[in-house]
Symmetry: C2
Subunit: 233 residues, 2 copies
DNA sequence: AGATCCAACCAATTCGAAATTGGTTGAGAG
DNA sequence: CTCTCAACCAATTTCGAATTGGTTGGATCT
């Protein structure tokens, strides 16, 4: 093999690879064939191919991962959207701040898009929370009420965000069990607050819905703080 | 078989089951033994056991799922927080609506909590987008700029939500990534819009930051609609 | 010597057949 | 008519084998 060929071969394989990538029909996820197959297809050694792939990876044209394969485009960001990992890095106070920022806006959107079906379900959830015989039942219907608000936005990504917040809430407050065996009292603050939220949504009052949700979450937050303080008994 | 025994046996199995649940040491996830084992252990028919389990399920004491098993406690909500599943149920328009609802609020929060370090990084990202030689480079720094805004909230759950939206955006717009060879023009709308956002955050102008972010996303949306090829901001 | 190739190996990941599990049906016994 | 039992169904999990990018050490060729 001549020296000219050797020196040129490096560049040549990269060029050959670029040509292949420009021409090839890749699957939806941008994955390209395994190194072993690709090296055979291009008629080059795997070592040579890997050198070329290394060049393209350094340029950011492709990214690779053991066991997964080689892909075109930017390496996907190390997403922080993993509930388990996320719950270890945060705390209830921070989570409540996030809820105070997000959920009022969800309520605002819901006021614009809620259908009669959603309104009926909201009313039903509210009735069920009032009839609840135990705190467990109350929480079940309270959770469903809040989720119905999110569903009423008729926006799938928004509903996904809400679910993520909810999952986080469960994970973060995991150790805490409601030790109170009695049922919610009839004058529990949430009843009138839920009423205000639902009424605002019914009236298509976007600002009112957002404000009511904010008020509600703030009083929930106060309650949590109070309960934590009284946990000494 | 006497009628008294029939009626009584139903209740008796439920009672027996309650006793078992109260006494048994369940694994961490609250899963109880398979019906086939449990029916043998309690010395009752699977049909009988299933009737009793049905009662407890109706009461909300347990929940069941084919292939998974039977578990104590409330049925976990069908969390929609899985990127892959979510991206199949939504579309770019819906996603943009969600971004228009969420990201301005993130910018608003960032205006309150951003540190000098965050401001410096915002400025650096902005400079890099202006210097970008290719759309790919521009996109890299644009993405980092927006993420820095989210980091500036200093709120982990909020950052997680932002990452989830971002991951969704990649998944949804995957099919139509175009390799536009030219670089962003110097008068690209995003440059001045980014400037407005950063300035508002520097000035602790919460309403201004939210409004600027909303304006920015709206013009990105217009751009997307106009040319339906580039997913860049 | 000094690259380069090659085969084997490694660890992360994916794939797939088989086992497990709650849900359902139909024949037969009481 | 009701209950039991066995078989079957479909959703899910499990676990070993195959796949894949990354690495190493000896063989091969200038």
């Amino acid at each position: 093999m001549l020296a000219v060929d050797e020196v040129g071969s490096n560049r040549s394989v990269v060029t050959q690879l670029r040509a292949y990538l420009a021409q090839a029909t890749l699957p939806e996820d941008g994955r390209l064939p395994p190194e072993r197959d690709l090296s055979a297809a291009l008629g080059v050694t795997r070592t040579e191919l890997r050198k070329a792939l290394g060049t393209l990876e350094a340029e950011g044209q492709i990214w690779r991962h053991v066991g997964k394969g080689t892909f075109m485009g930017n390496r996907p960001v190390d997403t922080l959207s993993d509930i388990a990992a996320l719950s270890k890095r945060t705390n209830p106070a921070e989570l409540m701040r996030a809820r105070l920022i997000i959920e009022p806006e969800i309520a605002r959107a819901a006021a614009l898009t809620a259908t009669p079906m959603h309104l009926a379900e909201l009313r039903m959830c509210q009735a069920r929370t009032r009839e609840a015989a135990t705190w467990r039942q109350y929480e079940t219907w309270d959770t469903r009420l809040h989720r119905t608000v999110a569903e009423a936005t008729q926006n799938t990504p928004l509903l996904g965000l809400f679910d993520m917040l909810n999952a986080l809430r469960r994970a973060v407050t995991w150790g805490r069990l409601r030790s109170n065996p009695v049922k919610p009292e009839p004058d529990h603050h949430s009843f009138t607050e839920h009423e205000t939220i639902i009424t605002a949504i019914e009236n298509r009052d976007m600002n009112g819905a957002a404000a009511a949700m904010r008020t509600h979450l703030q009083s929930v937050e106060r309650n949590l703080l109070a309960r934590q303080l009284s946990e000494t008994d």
